[in-house]
Structures are given as C-alpha cells and as structure tokens.
C-alpha cells in the first residue's frame, strides 16, 4: 500500500513537470509515433513484394507487431534504466538512493519513469484491432484477461533482462554497450521465430526469451495451435525472469561500495 502511494505521488509530480514543457511532450510523442510507424512501413513494403513470409500473412505479422508494442510500451514507461551505470554508479547517485527506506530498484524505476511511452500501447492496440478484423478473429469473454496476463508477462521479461544487465554495473563500472545491443536482439522476437536458424530460436526462447514478447503470445490469438504451449508459458517466464533479476540486483546492492569520494 505504502509503495502504491509513493508511485502515485511520483506520477503526479511527473505529470506536473511534463505539462510545463508541452511542446517538448508533443514533439516526443510524435517522434514515438514515427518510430512505431517505421516498423509498420517495413512490414507493408515487404509484403507488397511477397504474399507470405514462411507461411505467415501480412495481417498476421502486423498483429504480432501490434501485440509487441503493448508490453514494450509498459516496459519503456517503467524500465527506462538503460543509462543506469552512467547516471547512478559513475555519478554516485546510488548513494543517495540507498539512504532511503524504500527498495532501491523501485526508487530508480520511479525516478526514471517515462509515462508518455504508454501511448505506444494505444498504437499497438489499434494495429492489433485492424489486423484482427482483417483476419476475422473473434474475441471470447476471457480473451482480454489472457491478453492482460500475457502483456504483463512480456513486460516482465523485458524488465527482467534489462534489470539484470543494469545490475552488472554493481560488479564492473566500466561502460559497456550491451544495453543498445539488447534493444536490437529484442526486435528478433517480433517475427515468427521459425524463420531463424534453430540456435537463434533456442536463444530467443530460453536464454533471452524475447520471443515471448511478440510471436508466442500472438500465436494464441492467431489460433496457431502448435505454439499454444509457448503462448501460455508467457506469464510464468515473465515472473521467473523478473524474480531472478531482482535477486541479482539485491546481490549487487550488497556488494556496492560507492564510486565517488
């Protein structure tokens, strides 16, 4: 309960600062939209040259992309920690965090929140509904519930991987470019993983499980029964990966000695 009230306070404060610079906010939302459009343009242009991509139609690929945008929006809003090393370890901000009686990861997340990223979920839903109606998909009463579970699972997988990477900073404070690399690898999960080499498919399923953020859960809604097992594993994989990352984080905090003077 206490944590919720803190989250609420931070959110209010955040809205206030964002609303002060409305033009900035507008330009940022537009550039987000542009970013989402680029991938859509890619899909549309590619499918103007080929009817199927290893058995998947244009609308199915669009649906997967739309789904992917929803957990990604939640992840981008709350796990904006790609510059954690620079901001908190090198500059010594972590010392300030640790003097407070709230869990350190929770504080870092609150401080780096980017709530406007949540608008990406709307774009995602719009793409999904468009593609879904083209495919003639029907929605059962329990589907929104399953959708919610899978979206949360996906966001947790992303969050887990990136929190684990940020935790590396506790052991080594030299700068690495692993974070941007992950953003690239994460994009693999947006396409049917059966087009890749089986090694990559294995990595995307069990080691860096980004396939659970796009193609596997979408397979459920698209009625691809051969992947139902993977689809329903999504929330579980999300829970496991986030838990592991929080454990790694806690171990790192124990080791942390502070960088500055």
């Amino acid at each position: 309960m206490y944590y919720f009230s803190i989250l609420w306070q931070y959110t209010l404060q955040y809205m206030k600062t964002r609303m002060t610079y409305r033009v900035d906010l507008f330009v940022e939302l537009m550039s987000d939209l542009l970013f989402q459009a680029v991938n859509l343009v890619f899909i549309l242009v590619v499918f103007s040259h080929t009817p199927l991509l290893s058995g998947w139609s244009r609308e199915e690929i669009m649906f997967i992309y739309g789904f992917f945008l929803v957990p990604f929006a939640i992840f981008a809003a709350f796990f904006n920690i790609w510059d954690f090393n620079e901001r908190y370890i090198v500059k010594g901000e972590m010392d300030r965090i640790l003097t407070r009686p709230i869990h350190s990861l929770f504080q870092v997340i609150l401080e780096r929140m980017e709530l406007e990223s949540l608008f990406g979920a709307i774009t995602g839903l719009a793409i999904m509904f468009y593609a879904g109606s083209q495919l003639g998909l029907t929605i059962s009463w329990y589907d929104p519930l399953i959708f919610l579970l899978m979206v949360l699972g996906g966001a947790c997988i992303y969050g887990g991987v990136f929190v684990s990477l940020a935790s590396i900073s506790f052991w080594s404070d030299s700068r690495t470019d692993i974070m941007p690399m992950m953003y690239n690898i994460a994009n693999y999960g947006r396409y049917p993983v059966d087009i890749y080499h089986r090694v990559i498919r294995f990595v995307l399923t069990w080691i860096l499980p980004f396939a659970f953020v796009g193609v596997y859960p979408s397979a459920y809604f698209l009625g691809r029964q051969e992947w139902y097992v993977y689809a329903f594993l999504t929330p579980l994989v999300g829970f496991i990966f986030l838990s592991i990352s929080v454990w790694i984080w806690n171990q790192g905090v124990k080791r942390y000695r502070g960088a500055g003077n």
């Binding site: 330009v27 103007s48 396409y191």
Partner: protein
Amino acid sequence: MVNMYLEMIRIRFLMMLAYRTNYYSGILIYSINIGAYYFLWTAIYGGQESLGGLTVTQMTTYVAVAWMARAFYFNNIDREIAQEIREGKVAVEMIRPYHYLTMKTMQGLGEGLFRLLFFSAPGLLIVWLIFPLDFSASAWTWFTFGLSLVFSFVINTQLNLMTGLLTFFFFNNDGLIRAKRITIDLFSGLILPISFYPGWAQTLMSYLPFQAISYIPSMIFTGAFSDAEVWNGILLQALWSVVLIVPIQLLWMLAKKQLVVQGG
C-alpha cells in the same frame, strides 16, 4: 589553418581510441543486427529470384554494407551541439579562431575514421565469414563506393549540423533529434532499399536528400547500379552537399543574432 583542423581529427580519433573496448561489443551488435536481417530477407525472398531489382545475395550484401557504412557516416554531433548550446559553451567556442561548425565536422570525421578502421573493417570481415555475402567487387567498385561514402558523410553531417543548430530556436530539441534519426533510417534506404517502395514514394524520396546517405553507396557496392546510375548517384550526392550549405549558413547567421548567454 588546415593543420589545425587536421589536428582536431587526430585528437578525436585518439579520444575514441581510449575507449576502444566499447567497440568490440559494437561489432557484435552490428553483426547480430545484420544476422537478423539476413534471416528475415531470406524468408522474405522465399523461392523468388529477385525483388526490387536485387537478388537475395545482393540484398543481404546491401544490408551488411549499409550498416557498416553507417558506422562511418553516423555521428552524434547534433547532440553535442545541442548540449554545448544549452550549457552556454558555444559562446566560448565562437570567439575561438576557428569556424565552430567546421570544427564539429572535423570531430565527426575523426570519429568516423576511427569507426571505419576499428569497427566497420573487422565487422565486415566477421559478417563475411559467417554469412554468404558477395564482396567480390572490383577495384573500380570499391573506388566509386569510397567516393560515394565520403559524400554520405558530408550530407549526414550537414543534416546533423542543422538539427543541432535548431537548439538555438527550440530550447530542448531531443525529440527533434530523435525524429531526424528515425527519418534518416527510413528514407535513406538503410532498412529498406528505395527500389522496394511503391512508385509514388520513390518519386517523393528522389526530391529529398536522404537517399544520398545510404541507398546510393550501398547500391553501388552491390553492383545493382549500372555505370550511368553510379555517376548519376554520385553527382546527385555532390549536388546535395553543395545545396545544403545554404540553409546551414542561414541558420548559423540567425543563431548568432539569437544567442543569449546566461551567466558567465
């Protein structure tokens, strides 16, 4: 004067060298990225011989070369300029005995040369070993590709200078800088060759400077361009390099009038 600018290139090059461990992971990033596109494009081609004037080998070569060329022409001087303007450092730079924008360009070039040597070259080698790409280009192709790449750098840097200078007029332009980057990725032919777009989009893009950044050098390298097209392309790049000087000079003159130094 020339010596001073050469020195700037050298200093930036050495600065990058100091942080070179970063680039080993960078090579990996690019290889993985190119790998993803390799599988994606093979799947897209399916059994088809050629799409948009490119065979599947040419296409994957195109992707590999486009990304490795990006390492050379890509730089963050727009962000650097924006930061120097916000922090007021630009005022000090203006009274120094060199042209601020030329200095930024030279720094960008130092960075680009570093990446070309320590990043693109080993990266291309790795990619070439893993994926069946066609790098059997003739010396002439390599020469025209190199020439075209120089113009890519010039045009991309000019666009960066413009976006950076706009910070004088909009206090915070992070969003704009990001939007510019996305626009270049899409319209320059980095993620999709221009010949894949529908006709009306191709016409529209032919009036914009973006395709001069990535599409032209990559097409030259894959050998999908005829000799006439190669020279047309390079001529177009040269034309844009000259034309873009005008808005930059205009912005720079306006910016100097606009400058308000806080504190100091």
